[in-house]
Subunit: 210 residues, 2 copies
DNA sequence: CCTGTGCAGTAACAATGGTTACAGAAGTAT
DNA sequence: ATACTTCTGTAACCATTGTTACTGCACAGG
């Protein structure tokens, strides 16, 4: 755990802070598909992502989903921080998109460290900043783009975070993330294939040139 | 200015901090419609809203607009704070929805006060928290609601922040805020009128029962 | 009072996305 | 191999939203 922490966060946190994190944090290793957080769950800890990718989803009353963004190594979940200050209930769902390693820090330490460590303060502010912009860009996509553009953006982003030009998803799964329907996604994917931008297979697709 | 500050922020900021704000802050009074911030502008100060309502808009490359949320008294603009940490360029446009009074604080003080005053730290964190949730709810509206529901929500919210059941907007203006077209909004408003929920007039409309 | 400008009402039509239904292909279990 | 399940392809259709075009009305300014 110390090794992981130092590798990923050694450059931005003071040694003293790293030591504190090691003392109170708990290491967690989760497999792909593991649900880290459900909407309405009480938030008890704040995650520091060491490796892997976490996908953050929003859901409405009817159970309709929407992918908000991915967390990558070095990221933390601002939503969690935001929750620490409100009623402590999560507004989002978090699923491991790949196998992932992370350290959970009790939220009680948040304020203490914010006062004590400048690096922690900067980290927290920076996380908020990044997440706010990420949300803004998600909003842009939904508000200003049509489904075909959103789909292309989705495929690109997914390839980027997983570092893999093979997208291991069914059409139905993509439809959930984009809050659309399977038929619509199949239709658009077929068009992309006709344009030689992707190649379709069962249970996965290859990105050729987006 | 001291009076305004104390009235609005006296309960949450230490006296010492209030004094500092008075020293470095500049008081600003702007009329309805005044553009406080344009997309791409360099952010030099952080606003503390004393009275009035500020509307925060997002715009894409094609000039299509979208209302993000309103700032009310006691609010500050987290986007501004976020900008202070990035490239300092604004991601949003800010327009005074009503006459408004505010105090501009130089962004250089941000970090200093964050280390020095617990109340300031809480204020900043809280602002981020509120804004993140506000953005999330805006996203929900756009992603999960149809235009008729969004329109009703828009009218309600606008009535709430302006404390006025008369909405002083043309159909075109509403269309801009919702990123729709005038004809669509006219159509839906007419339906709402038929349902006795509103009463239409030239240049304004009355909310009867939403 | 007349006229120009901007606002609102409406119809006809297009485009996008969502729904239903069904068939066939690929993989899995028996 | 056979049966079953899951995934994909496709067609037909519908609903919502957006577009274009034209109308008349209200109001401001001469």
């Amino acid at each position: 755990m110390i090794q992981d922490l130092t590798t990923e966060y050694g450059k931005i946190f003071e040694e003293e802070l790293i030591n504190e994190i090691v003392q109170v944090g708990t290491f967690k290793e989760v497999p792909e598909g593991y649900k880290l957080m459900e909407i309405g769950d009480y938030v008890r800890g704040m995650p520091l992502l060491i490796s892997g990718v976490i996908k953050i989803l929003r859901e409405d009353e009817d159970g309709d989903e929407l992918l908000l963004y991915y967390l990558e190594k070095g990221d933390t979940c601002s939503m969690t921080m935001a929750c620490c200050m409100g009623d402590n209930k999560s507004e989002i769902r978090a699923i491991a998109e790949t196998d992932a390693k992370l350290i959970m820090v009790p939220i009680q330490k948040m304020e203490e460290w914010t006062a004590k460590y400048k690096s922690w303060r900067n980290f927290v502010f920076n996380s908020y900043h990044v997440r706010l912009n990420e949300l803004l860009s998600t909003l842009d996509n939904i508000a200003f783009q049509k489904m075909d553009e959103r789909l292309i953006g989705y495929l690109k982003e997914k390839a980027r975070v997983t570092k893999d030009d093979i997208i291991h998803s069914t059409h139905q799964e993509i439809a959930y993330d984009l809050h659309s329907s399977r038929v619509v996604i199949s239709r658009l994917l077929k068009k992309l294939e006709e344009m030689k931008k992707i190649k379709l297979h069962r249970n996965y697709l290859e990105i050729l040139d987006l």
